[in-house]
């Protein structure tokens, strides 16, 4: 065994004072570098000088990175410099993700809220000239709620029952194919769902364009999402629960209905709400199936019916300033609806989370 025999004795700390600390940047180094970068950027802003045509805050950012990187490289060495620059880069990407989101939300809220008033919420676009002001989204809101409602009524029973089959019964080839094709269905582009319903339901079967058609198209998109999330929630229910109930002589279907489903119900509801939030914002399938009504249509089974997404699309297409204002108002209402559902679902999920990581 070739062990060295030079034994390490305790070292006098004053012999190598940097042994444990290395050379470190002071704690205020990042802030100082940021300030330096900012100063350089503001200098450029004030004097109007452009380096390589870059805007001042881009230069400020680059200056910060260069100063910080160079500083740490010279003091702390390559390893810590890489670590610090990586940290800065990671923070930057997080900002790049969050800033646009905040931007979108703030834009929609500020531009949209000015359009929202009682008249906007209770009137329709009937007889409203695109160039004129006024008009409202009542017909669109009614349409969206109706269509999403229909989609939910169709998707939830089929979706949950399929999920139950996959989780509780399916073991063989049928279950595997259903699983595979549900995966395929989650990837259907939304416009294809719209194309199918238009050509099949409206053209071939001859039904009129209607809110129902739109609801059908939405349910094609909603069913796979409901199935996947419900199946996951059901799979989380511990097997011991099922076995304990079966051992008591309770028939399987009662075990599922009375024990398994109630245990998973909060997760299933969350999944359904997330699916609802998703389809509420879908535009493409609606464009193809309901066209663009200007008045309220309370009858979901006949006649074109507006919806919030198609309302926004339509108003953008009109091209006038008042139409654009109305579009922002509609966007506000739409985002409001979607985010309510979405946040409620996430909060519910967090409260009733059955497992911890």
């Amino acid at each position: 065994m070739s062990l060295k025999t030079d034994v390490h004795l305790p070292i006098n700390p004053s012999d190598d004072p940097l042994r444990l600390t290395g050379r470190r940047l002071p704690r205020w180094a990042p802030a100082a570098s940021m300030a330096a970068g900012l100063v350089i950027g503001i200098l450029l802003l004030v004097t109007g000088v452009k380096i390589l045509g870059l805007t001042w805050w881009v230069v400020a950012l680059l200056a910060f990175l260069l100063i910080y990187g160079g500083w740490t490289l010279s003091v702390e060495g390559r390893r810590h410099a890489t670590d610090r620059i990586a940290t800065a880069a990671v923070y930057l990407t997080a900002a790049a993700a969050i800033i646009p989101l905040a931007w979108i939300l703030i834009t929609v809220i500020t531009k949209g809220i000015s359009a929202i008033n009682l008249e906007f919420l209770t009137s329709t676009m009937r007889n409203v000239n695109p160039r004129a002001e006024g008009g409202g989204i009542l017909h669109a809101v009614v349409g969206t709620l109706t269509q999403v409602g229909i989609a939910t009524l169709i998707s939830v029973p089929i979706g949950i029952c399929t999920a139950i089959y996959l989780s509780e019964y399916g073991r063989g080839r049928l279950a595997r194919s259903i699983n595979f094709f549900v995966d395929v269905m989650t990837g259907i582009p939304s416009i294809i769902a719209g194309m199918f319903i238009f050509t099949f339901w409206i053209l071939t079967l001859g039904f009129p364009q209607s809110g129902l058609a739109a609801g059908l198209a939405l349910s094609i998109l909603m069913i796979p999402v409901v199935i996947k999330s419900a199946e996951e929630m059901l799979k989380i229910v511990p097997n011991e629960l099922r076995e304990g109930a079966l051992a008591l002589g309770i028939p399987k279907y009662k075990v599922i209905i009375k024990i398994v489903i109630p245990t998973a119900i909060s997760g299933i509801i969350t999944g359904v709400m997330l699916a609802v939030a998703r389809v509420t914002g879908e535009t493409a399938p609606l464009l193809l199936t309901t066209f663009l009504a200007q008045d309220v249509n309370w009858n979901a089974f006949e006649g074109s019916q507006a919806s919030l997404p198609t309302f926004i699309w339509d108003q953008i297409a009109r091209g006038t300033q008042s139409s654009l204002d109305r579009a922002w108002g509609g966007a506000f209402a739409l985002i409001f609806l979607v985010l309510i559902f979405y946040s409620a679902a996430r909060i519910l999920a967090a409260i009733y989370a059955p497992r911890e990581r």
């Binding site: 990407t93 790049a96 399929t162 089959y165 259907i188 050509t199 464009l287 953008i316 985002i335 990581r357």
Partner: protein
């Protein structure tokens, strides 16, 4: 004297799944039926759309793959998918190139850099981007974001114009593939980030501690322990993001200028994707036009399917070798 022989009574339901109890049978029938309904619906969609796309494919006078026109309702019909496939792929790949680093960086931030109390909230906020409807992305992208991107596009063509994809020969920078790509990137960012985040949070503590105990810095730990373990998951996240970008319709339809031509230059007003084309042309399309649009839709569906299936395969194949115990 012989004692009566008791045969063990077989209770229905214990011996097999096939119970004679009506409640069980009906319920099982109901759930199986639901599953089969889903299969039937999907089969119907595929079959019906394929059937409906045949006429346009048959009477197309141009070559499907190379024709760069869109005149399916003309006499004779002449249309091709090359422009559409190019536009679809070009915008989606650009979106992926932008979204993947940002998504992975955000996931790293939430998993390894942010204070524990903030990370759940941050995850919620990033996921919130996923809930924003695409029409709103289109609206905001067109009217609010584009004016800020245009100077950037100008800068690209001025200073990096020697790279062919950044040249701009028409001095018009609006409604370009670059802008559509950036907006698409924001739309798929939450998908990439959420999946990456899941994978990062699953790296076993023992791997992380092994590198830290050797005296690794945080970034070295991520490179030594996290990335090798998470590679299949990150690839899958990127591909699923790509899949979403491919199918996105409305934002692209609003932002692109819908010129029907193959144009590599990112900053010039540009092209068309399959989905956007359908959305824009459906209303005025005649019978053959609709048939042609359906054909393109099926091509899109096929491409998306291949991408999504590959993403799943990557994860499943490498699960055995990822070192997870």
């Amino acid at each position: 004297m012989s004692a009566p022989v008791h045969e063990p009574q077989l209770h229905p339901g214990i011996t097999s799944e096939r119970s004679v109890r009506p409640g069980d049978r009906n319920f099982r029938f109901l759930t199986t039926g639901a599953g089969i309904t889903v299969l039937i619906v999907l089969a119907a969609i595929a079959a019906f759309l394929i059937w409906k796309s045949v006429p346009a494919l048959q009477n197309n006078t141009g070559s499907l793959l190379t024709n760069q026109q869109w005149l399916p309702d003309a006499d004779p019909p002449s249309w091709g998918i090359s422009v559409l496939i190019f536009g679809t792929l070009w915008t989606s790949i650009l979106a992926m190139v932008i979204a993947v680093p940002i998504g992975i960086g955000t996931a790293l931030f939430i998993a390894f850099y942010a204070p524990r109390r903030l990370s759940k909230g941050l995850g919620f906020i990033v996921d919130l981007l996923a809930a924003v409807p695409s029409i709103i992305f289109g609206l905001w992208g067109l009217y609010n974001f584009m004016p800020y991107l245009v100077p950037f596009a100008e800068w690209l063509s001025t200073y990096l114009g020697w790279i062919p994809i950044f040249t701009n020969n028409v001095d018009l920078y609006t409604k370009s593939i670059l802008i559509a790509g950036v907006v698409l990137a924001l739309m798929i960012l939450p998908t990439v980030s959420a999946i990456s985040r899941e994978v990062f949070l699953q790296v076993p503590r023992s791997h992380i501690e092994a590198s830290l105990a050797l005296g690794a810095t945080r970034w070295e730990m991520i490179r030594m322990s996290v990335f090798p373990f998470s590679r299949p998951g990150m690839i899958s996240a990127a591909m699923l993001g790509l899949g979403r970008a491919l199918g996105e319709t409305i934002a692209v339809a609003l932002i692109l200028s819908a010129v029907f031509e193959i144009n590599w230059k990112l900053t010039e007003p540009g092209g068309n994707s399959i989905a956007a084309n359908i959305a824009l042309k459906w209303g005025e399309a005649g019978d053959n036009g609709r048939s042609a649009l359906i054909a393109t839709g099926l091509v899109l569906f096929f491409i998306t399917l291949v991408v999504n299936m590959t993403a799943r395969w990557v994860v499943n194949r490498r699960k055995d070798f990822s070192g997870a115990n």
